[in-house]
């Protein structure tokens, strides 16, 4: 009896550490102490921005990696949340701006994004592969032009400016350190949620649907409903990222949700790798660093060429992105450690 209790007491503890994984713990600690060493610029413009785009790409990874649905509309969903924040909250563009407090605006914005995402999903889940890509691209393009030419709701090309992140508990959440932790919190939460979700019954079903939809349908699963729900969940992630994005920029305009940005999201996810939820974050860091510093390396005229070349090389060397690259190096490293061993 007493033996059993002891074993019971010990076992869960081991499971807990095993479950989370030492790598995760180290990474989390490193990210938590990162503000001690980084400059404000690296805190928000690089790390914060990367994490926002990481979460956005994560919502694509959820759809593409687990559900087999390639979407170009994630930035559109984020844009819906961002515009909702601008319209329901306050801005200084003298157009709309209902001035609601942030704790009503944010849930509203995220809900609007999630519902729109489910709608986009509902329209596109009947298609597959390249056709899903085309439908979502059409939605992204249409939304961009609609926002650019609609003055009553979207304020046209100028969009909305003067949107402030909330100030509560005596903290201005757009200050570098609080904003970094806000982004980090959201990134960790989304990452954990997607990781947990992928092993849940729903996640397993979704992956089974991805691999063989006809069989799943024959087994009695409602394939469309599962897929649409995945879109809804991806919409929640993209919506949250959209809220952070509008606080980050302090503004939102059609340029924020342009087709080039939609493709950036896809590039980030592919560069990082779609096999594991960490991939989008790795991809985001690489892409944001490239976009920010390429101009210093090759000058103003050619820096887009350099960005393109680096992407080409990554995808050429490893079709699975940086994660795949890691998978290839790993066996070599393992053998190295065997040789170096005592």
């Amino acid at each position: 009896m007493s033996l059993a209790t002891a074993a019971d007491g010990a076992a869960p503890q081991q499971n807990w550490l095993d479950k989370i994984g030492a790598g995760h713990v180290i990474l989390a600690v490193a990210l938590l102490v990162y503000p001690l060493v980084a400059s404000d610029f690296f805190l928000t413009q690089i790390a914060g921005y990367s994490m926002i785009f990481g979460v956005l790409s994560l919502s694509l990874m959820l759809l593409a990696g687990y559900g087999g649905m390639l979407s170009l509309a994630q930035i559109t969903v984020a844009g819906i949340a961002a515009y909702a924040v601008a319209i329901l909250g306050s801005n200084n563009s003298n157009v709309l701006g209902f001035g609601w407090p942030w704790w009503i605006v944010v849930p509203f914005a995220v809900a609007a994004a999630a519902v729109s995402s489910a709608l986009i999903g509902w329209i596109s889940v009947r298609t597959e592969g390249i056709y899903t890509l085309m439908i979502t691209l059409a939605i992204a393009t249409a939304t961009f032009y609609f926002a650019q030419q609609n003055y009553a709701i979207f304020n046209g090309h100028s969009g909305y400016a003067g949107i402030h992140a909330p100030v509560f508990w005596g903290v201005n959440w757009r200050d570098p350190k609080p904003f970094y932790y806000l982004c980090l919190g959201l990134a960790m939460l989304s990452y954990a949620a997607v990781l947990y979700g992928s092993r849940s019954t729903f996640g397993m079903t979704l992956q089974a649907i991805r691999d063989n939809p006809r069989r799943m349908r024959a087994l009695g699963y409602h394939v469309t409903a599962h897929k649409v729900f995945a879109w809804f969940l991806a919409g929640v992630l993209a919506g949250l990222a959209g809220v952070l994005l509008v606080w980050f920029n302090g503004r939102v305009s059609p340029g924020t949700i342009g087709v080039d940005v939609a493709i950036d999201i896809l590039i980030i996810a592919v560069i990082g790798g779609l096999r594991h939820p960490i991939g989008p974050f790795v991809g985001a860091i690489v892409v944001i660093l490239m976009q920010t510093f390429a101009i210093d390396i090759v000058g103003a005229e050619r820096f887009n060429t350099l960005i393109g070349l680096v992407f080409l090389v990554i995808v050429f060397v490893s079709p699975d992105g940086i994660l795949g690259l890691w998978g290839r190096i790993k066996p070599h490293l393992a053998q190295e450690s065997l040789r170096a061993g005592p």
């Binding site: 994984g21 030492a22 790598g23 180290i26 990474l27 490193a30 990210l31 990162y34 060493v37 980084a38 400059s39 404000d40 610029f41 690296f42 413009q45 690089i46 790390a47 032009y145 650019q148 030419q149 003055y151 046209g156 090309h157 100028s158 969009g159 400016a161 003067g162 920029n249 302090g250 503004r251 939102v252 305009s253 059609p254 340029g255 924020t256 342009g258 080039d260 790795v282 860091i285 660093l289 920010t292 101009i295 000058g299 103003a300 005229e301 820096f303 887009n304 890691w326 790993k330 490293l333 450690s337």
Partner: protein, 413 residues
Amino acid sequence: MHRRTLLALALFTGLTAPSMALAADDTIKIGLLATFEGPFTVLGEDGERGAMTAVAETNGTVAGKKIEIVKGSSDASPDSAVRAARKLVEQDGVKVLVGPLSGDEGLAVKDYAKTKPDVTFINGTSAAQDTTLRNPAENFFRFSTDGAQWMAGLGTYAFNDKGYKKVATVAEDYSFPYTQVFGFMAEFCKAGGHVPSKSWVPIGNKDFSSVIAAIPEDVDAIYVALGGADAVNFLTQYQQAGGTAPLIGGSITVDQTVLTSKGKLRDVLKGTPSAGPTADTNDAPAWKSFVAAYAKQPGAFPSPSLFAHGYYVNMKATLLALDQVGGDVSDGGKKLREALSKLSFDTPTGKVSLDKNRNAIADIFLTEVTEGSDGNLLNKLVKVVPQVNQTLGIPEDEFMKLGAVNRDNPSCP
């Protein structure tokens, strides 16, 4: 687990690369923000040539210190302009920033300037009226004039000398073309003209057929305020559609960035009246020596575009003021800003000084497109409108009553 740790460490060190904000004592860092991506790339590159002409004039030094130019790129969207400005200020540590290029970018950078009172912002060529007229930032200076000022003299000239009574407008859909249309219509409507239709097209539009179809048939002329690739696309398609109405040009529509394009477009553009801060056939010695200095820049146009001119004037003002304060910006740029606001100097296009909103008062040139002796299209100088201020000579309170420029203001159908 060992490998994961390595990965985490690698990520961590990558993210903590130290910021290189510390400049050596004998150099002055100046940020240069222009559009090196998107539909305005050609314009941004010529802006850079202008700025570098000013730097070359002082042999790359000011007050005994070496000038270091740090470039930032936007794609003409306000978000990207602010992101580039943030990188220049917060990462590269510039205390003086010259830029940006286009209207909405200027409005966004002005808003950003308010959050960085220690940094001095000097405009590039962005020419939206409200960058300086309404709600200005204390540390944002504009030695180039705004889009409405650039139109000084054109509306009256089109009505009186050209005899156009009814004019339709086609312009891009953002703050700078609003300002240009405002400047043109302010005079044209006052002279008795009518504008029955205004078409606003998005930046980067490729297909203008619906816009061309919507232009009323009975207009005497079409006023076009489009920039770069958009102007070339519209003018080509208008000609292909058999359009014959004469044109009136916005400042950047008949700029060197458009005039140097090849093809039949040339015939359409000949004789187009316009107005702006420069005129190619200006024979003032100061302008001629500026053209000669500009021509030394790699890839230069036959004659500097107004972007080269605007960036040149603003960079020149920056260098003059820096020279006055001995290159000292250690007080958060306070002395520099004082020097800038009092600055008045002779540019290649006449005297420039600032008003109380830190916006330029300068000469404006009325021009007409002609073919030069070497076959290049040029803007021939017709008339100089001296010392135009931001309220176009109208008393300020009266001018403010006209309201903020937008798609519907002004109107005289």
